[in-house]
Amino acid sequence: MNRTSNNPLADDLVRPLFHTSVWFYGSVTVLASIVLCGAAAWGYQLWYGIGVAGINWPVFWGFYLTNFVFWIGISHAGTLISAILRLVNARWRRPVTRCAEVITVFALMIGAMFPVIHLGRPWLAFWLAPYPSAREIWPNFRSPLAWDFFAINTYLTGSLLFLLLPMIPDFALVRDRSTGLRKRIYGLLALGWQGTTKQWHRLEAGMQIMAIAIIPVAVSVHTIVSFDFSMATVPMWHSTIFGPYFVAGAIFSGIAALIIAMAALRRLLHLEAYLHPVHFENLGKLLLLMSLLWGYFVFAERLTVWYGNEHSEMAVFWATQRGEYAPLYWTMVICNFVIPLPILALRQLRTVAGTVVASFAVLIGMWLERFLIVVPSLARKPLSYTWGEYTPQPVEIILMVATFAAMILLYMLFSKFVPIISIWEMKVGNQPHPPVVTETEDELAGLWKARP
């Protein structure tokens, strides 16, 4: 650190930017190697063709689309939760928001890669962009894939800006504590921030508007991802419940990812003084609520299908209830409902460790849920001669593992270059209450009109 200060909060939170331990380099090396293996696997698939993956008639959507839906779901951890907590002015949100928003940005980037990986000719992915490509043909805006393009890009743009704007004052702090090249880089990132009253008002007003705008966008994103399925007349896909079911599942897995990320940051960056057990307890309660909501949606979906007793849907139903997909289905139920419910419902178990255990179970369960939505329905289409099987191939497994490594790697690098907890928001949280204003709002308004 280039400057000493009497600002212990800032000292604690910028320390990781100025000091790097050996384990950091070791972890980055290992994770980067795994990511490179993933890149090599993709290169192998590009060279030999999409046939090296396990996807084949009739199951054309396998691991890649499962991971796409899973990562887009994880992205709901951040911006959506952060925006809601900002709007309701939850004071406990302050150490949590940035940790959460980062997850959104990186998970969206990773999730958006999968449809491109899934394409046989990914170099033509830009055809989804809204411009007249070959023969002046525009994208078909009636296709759910075009909706995905717009929804994901809007959410990614909004989330990125929602993350970046409150980082500007913290960049200014790092700028003022640095020297040399680091000072120049953070100076550029701080955009000349000085902390005038006007700048603070604009930032806070802008964040409030962004929070209002980003919530419906977040809901729309996973609803539109669900439309990829529900717009098709495939057994157990063509359902009106899919929109809210997907959104609930996304928030469920998103909160689980946030809890794990916070616990890791708390331990590795020694942020125990800022990420308190109460944060985990509050998020644990949210996770409990989402677990119950998820159970409700699954029951409603299953009951409707079973009661309808439609032949093709029942084939998928029984394949998951007691057929070849049953082990995965019941593991999903255990992970998403049976394990988290007692842990999160009992206060004694809703500790940091308890919520982390429940969150790991939920992540496994939610990945299985995505897989069980994608694969069994395609493998059991209405006519039995179109039935088939799907077995993931090494390329798909390596790519999936690589994306998990990429997520951890990006998160680590981010926390190395940016204070992972918003310093200025923490300071605001520490301000004394109640207010010490001597004049009412009306008097103030009149005052500013009267003064030159």
Binding site: S5, N7, A10, P130, E136, W138, N140, F141, R142, S143, A146, W147, F150, A151, N153, T154, T157, G158, L161, L165, I168, P169, L173, D176, L191, G192, W193, Q194, G195, T196, T197, K198, Q199, W200, H201, R202, E204, A205, G206, I209, M210, A213, I214, P216, V217, S220, I224, F227, W424, K427, V428, Q431, P435, V436, V437, T438, E439, L444, W448, P452
Partner: protein, 168 residues
């Protein structure tokens, strides 16, 4: 003198310093206050609060809505291909694109307006002191007249707990 300012750790002192400058006849728009956090509870923090940002966001959303409608409806008519028996201009699916572009318009307009009205990106003013990001509250006047400067210096010094500085 180019500027005179004082640094305070206590927002109550900063408020008194602002009041002292007003007493000396400094115009409201000439008083500069910088801090490392917003102090919503203090009167000095209510300066420059009025903003058109909400209206600009709304206008951006409206622009996005119009672009979204024109993009979908116009391009579908350029190549009138029937897809799955849907009308050429299919309102229901188009609503999705229109909605996303409406929100994108509102978000981008908000950010652009925020940056412009907050003078970002910009150069650091000569009044800026790095102590601000360390938690000090800067209260000062940029470019006071030669006769006013000593009075401002005294006014700022009269508030307890301040470090008065001047840039010549």
């Amino acid at each position: 003198m180019k500027a005179v300012y004082a640094l305070y750790t206590d927002p109550d002192a900063a408020q008194r310093a602002v009041n002292a400058l007003r007493t000396e006849g400094v115009a409201e728009r000439d008083i500069v206050v910088m801090s490392s956090e917003p102090f919503e509870e203090y009167e000095f923090s209510h300066r420059d609060k009025a903003t058109w940002l909400h209206w600009i966001a709304g206008a951006g959303g409206l622009a996005g809505l119009i672009v979204g409608y024109l993009l979908t409806a116009t391009t579908q008519q350029l190549w009138p291909l029937v897809t799955s028996g849907m009308p050429i201009v299919s309102t229901w699916p188009n609503i999705i694109i229109v909605f996303e572009l409406t929100m994108l318009g509102a978000i981008l307009a908000t950010v652009v307006a925020l940056l412009i009205t907050a003078s970002l990106p910009g150069r650091l003013s000569r009044l800026y002191d790095p102590a601000v990001t360390e938690g000090y509250i800067l209260v000062g006047v940029d470019g006071p007249s030669e006769e006013l400067a000593p009075r401002l210096d005294r006014a700022l010094a009269s508030v307890e707990g301040g470090q008065v500085k001047s840039i010549t």
